[in-house]
C-alpha cells in the first residue's frame, strides 16, 4: 500500500512535467488509434463480404465487359444458386469532388442477393417499378440532403450525357460494417439508352455477382465458371467477393503501408518524450534512491518504483487517449463524409492502443531503472541533480 502511495507521490512531484507528459501520450495514443482506424476503414469493403458470393469479371481487367448472355451460362454451372450483375457507372454529381460509387444493377436479383441492405417494402416496390428510379444508402442521402422523390442528375464519364434519376428508396445497413454510400439504379434503363445510341455497347455487363449454395465449393465453382468461357472473346476471372474487394485494397497498398508505418512513428516520438521524462526524474532522485538502498531496500525495489511510475503515467495517458479516440473518430467520419463509408473504432484498435501505452511505459523506464538500480550508494548520495 505504501509503495503505491510512494509511486503516486513521486509521479506528481513535478506536476507540470507529469501533466505535459500525459498530454503528450494522450495525443500520441489518440493519433495512433485514429490512424489504425483509417487503415481498417480501407479494408471495410472486404470485411463486409459474404463467402457465398462470387464475382465474375473480364479476365483482362475491369475496364472490359462481358456479354449479357453469360448470365444464363453461369446460372447453369452446378452449385450456382442465382446470378445478378452490375455495371460501374462512374458518373459525376455536380462536381468531381462529390465522389460516390454508382452502379447500374439488375435490381430485383441484386437486392435479393444483398440482404444486408435493409429496405422498406413499399419503397423497394416503388424503386422496382420505376425504370428511372434509384436507391441510395442512408449516409449518402444524408450527406446530400436527398429525400424520396428528388431528381438526381448525374453526368456520365463512361456513358456520355447527363442522366437524371428519381430517388425511390433509401437503404439502411444491417450493421455498422455495411456500406451506406452506394448509389444503385436500373441496368435496363442504362442499357436501353446506350443501345439506342451506341449499338456496339449494348447488352454488356461489368461484373456478375454469383450466389452459390455451398461456400466451401467456392474455388471449384469459380474454376467451372472460368472454364465455361475459356478461349472465348471475353474470358472471365471468378473469385470470391472478398478476394475481389481485397484486390482493390492491394492496389493502394503502398499508401496503406505508409499510413501504418507512420502510425508507429508517433509511438516512437512519444517513447522519446516519455524516456526523457523518466531519465530526468530518475536523475534528480539518485540521492533518494541511494538513501533507500542504504536503508536496506533492494536494487530491484528501486527499479520497480521507476517502472511503476512510468507505467502509471503511460497508462493514465493511454486510457484518456482511448476515451478521446471515440468522439474524435466520429467527428472525423462526419467530416470525411462518404470518403470512408465504414468508419468505427474496433476492439482490436483499443487493444493495440493499450499495448502501445504499456510498451511506451516499459521502454521509457528501462535505462533510468537500470541506472538507479546499479548506482553505487556512495555515488548516489554524492550526486546533485
Amino acid at each position: 500500500m505504501y509503495v503505491v502511495l510512494l509511486v503516486l507521490k513521486n509521479a506528481f512531484r513535478h506536476k507540470l512535467r507529469t501533466a505535459l507528459t500525459i498530454v503528450g501520450i494522450v495525443v500520441a495514443i489518440t493519433a495512433f488509434g485514429l490512424l489504425r482506424t483509417i487503415v481498417q476503414a480501407w479494408y471495410a469493403g472486404a470485411e463486409a463480404t459474404s463467402s457465398a458470393r462470387l464475382v465474375t469479371r473480364n479476365a483482362i481487367s475491369l475496364v472490359f465487359s462481358m456479354p449479357l448472355t453469360y448470365a444464363e451460362k453461369i446460372r447453369q454451372v452446378p452449385g450456382v444458386a442465382s446470378v445478378s450483375w452490375a455495371n460501374w457507372f462512374g458518373g459525376v454529381y455536380i462536381t468531381e469532388r462529390n465522389f460516390f460509387p454508382q452502379f447500374a444493377i439488375d435490381a430485383a436479383s441484386y437486392l435479393d442477393m444483398y440482404p444486408e441492405f435493409v429496405l422498406n417494402p413499399s419503397e423497394k416496390k416503388a424503386f422496382l417499378v420505376d425504370r428511372k428510379g434509384a436507391v441510395v444508402g442512408r449516409k449518402l442521402a444524408e450527406q446530400y440532403g436527398w429525400k424520396l422523390g428528388d431528381q438526381i442528375p448525374i453526368r456520365g464519364t463512361i456513358f456520355p450525357g447527363t442522366w437524371t434519376f428519381t430517388l425511390r428508396a433509401i437503404y439502411d445497413g444491417v450493421d455498422a460494417k455495411t456500406d451506406e454510400t452506394q448509389f444503385y439504379f436500373h441496368w435496363q434503363y442504362l442499357n436501353e439508352s446506350i443501345k439506342a445510341r451506341f449499338p456496339r455497347r449494348g447488352d454488356q455487363i461489368g461484373i456478375y455477382v454469383v450466389e452459390i449454395r455451398d461456400p466451401s465449393q467456392a474455388a471449384a465453382i469459380s474454376q467451372d465458371i472460368d472454364a465455361t468461357f475459356k478461349n472465348s472473346l471475353a474470358e472471365t476471372l471468378t473469385e470470391t467477393e472478398k478476394a475481389f474487394q481485397l484486390g482493390f485494397v492491394a492496389m493502394t497498398e503502398a499508401i496503406l503501408v505508409a499510413v501504418q508505418a507512420v502510425s508507429f512513428v508517433v509511438i516512437l516520438i512519444i517513447m522519446a518524450v516519455m524516456a526523457n521524462t523518466m531519465a530526468m526524474t530518475a536523475r534528480e532522485r539518485y540521492g533518494e534512491y541511494a538513501t533507500m538502498k542504504a536503508l536496506g531496500f533492494a536494487n530491484h525495489f528501486v527499479a520497480l518504483l521507476i517502472f511503476a511510475e512510468s507505467l502509471g503515467i503511460a497508462l493514465a495517458g493511454g486510457v484518456l487517449g482511448i476515451l478521446l479516440t471515440f468522439p474524435l473518430a466520429s467527428a472525423f467520419a462526419g467530416a470525411m463524409g462518404t470518403l470512408f463509408p465504414v468508419f468505427f473504432v474496433s476492439g482490436e484498435t483499443v487493444l493495440m492502443q493499450v499495448a502501445a501505452a504499456v510498451i511506451v511505459g516499459v521502454v521509457a523506464a528501462v535505462v533510468p531503472a537500470w541506472r538507479a538500480a546499479n548506482v553505487r550508494i556512495v555515488d548516489g548520495l554524492r550526486s546533485i541533480a
Partner: protein, 389 residues
Amino acid sequence: MAAIPLNYIARNLAARKLTTALTAGGMALVVYVFATVLMLATGLTETLVATGQTDNVLVIRRGSQTEVQSGVDRPSAAIIETLPDVATGGDGRKLISKEPVVLINLPKRDSGKPSNVVIRGATPQGLVLRPQVKIVAGRMFQPGTSEIIAGRSIAEGFRGAALGETLRFAQRDWTVVGVFDAGRTGFNSEIWGDAEQLLQSFRRVSFSAVIFKLIDSERFDAVKAQIESDPRLTLEAKRETQFYADQSEALSKFIFYLGTTISVIFSIGAIIGAMITMYASVASRTNEIGTLRALGFSRAAILAAFLGEALLLGLVGGLVGLIGAAFMQAFSISTMNFQTFAEIAFSFSVTPAIVLASVAFALVMGFVGGFLPAARAARMKIVDALRAA
C-alpha cells in the same frame, strides 16, 4: 545591451546528452514524416507534369476524365487530322497519334497481387510526340506483330513484363522485346504495343485518345475552340501538360493533406518533449540565471538565450529528420492513382521549398516548446534565483 554568447547556449545542450538526444530525436521523427510526405506529393505531381509536352494537344471524348474512359471513333479522329494547326513531321506525315488506351490486370512481381497497368497502342508518330521515351534494353516492337515494350517501372515491378518474358491477354501471347525509360514520367508505368494490333485483339473500333503537336503553341485556344464547337465532334481538347497535371491532383492532395495533418498532430508530442526539456533546463540552472542577471544581462537577454537553446534544439532535430528524409530519394513508390484507376510509379522528390518548410517547421516546434520556459526564466527575480537551492 549584451547578448548571452551562442557558445553558452550550445554548451548547455551538450551538457545533458541523453535528454538533448531524446528531445531532438522526437522532433527529428516529426520532421522526417513531414518532409517525406511533402516529397511524396511533390514527386507524384512532378512525375505527371513531366509526362506531358506543352505543345502537344490531347483530345478525348467530352466528359471523360481519363483516356481509359474515353472513346474517339475513326471518323472523328480523321477530322482532327485535317485541322490546319497539326504540325507535320520530317517525313511529311502529320504529327498525330491515334491511340487505344486500356487497362490490364497484372500480378506484381514481388507479392503476386494484381494491379491495373495502362497498355497503350503506340504509333511511329506517337514516339516522335514523346521525345522523352527511350529504349534502354532490347528493341522497338515491330508494327503488325504481337510484340510489346514495357516501361521501366512496369518491367521491374510486374510478372511477365521484363525483357524476353511474355504476357497473355486478349487471346494472344505478347512478347516483351524492349524496355523503355521515359525519365521521371508516367509513361514509365505503361506498356506500349502496336495500336492497330491492340485494337484488333481487344475487339475495339474506337481509339481512346488522339494526340497531336501544334505548329504554333500559342494557337492552342483557337484549336480548342474549333474542336469543341465542331458539331460533328463530341470531343474536348486539353494541353497534354494540363491533362496529366489534372490526373495528379486528387492523389497528391490526398497525400499532402493527410500527411500535413498527421505531422501537425505529431508535432504536439514533440513540442511537449521540448517543453519538458526546457522547463527542466530552466529549473536546474536557476542559480546561473540569477548570476547572469546580477552580472547585468537583461531579462530580454535571458529570454533570448533560452529561446535560442530551444530553437537550436529544433534545428538539430529538423536537420537530422531532413537528412533521414533525404535518403528516401533512393526509393520509389508504386500505387494506384484513384483518378485513372491505373498503377503509377513515382519517387520522393526534394525541392528547396520542402527543405525550407521542414526547417521552418522544426524551428516553430522549438519556438512553441521553448517560449513558456524561456519566459519563466526571464521573469525570475534576481534575489530569488540566487537564493534557490
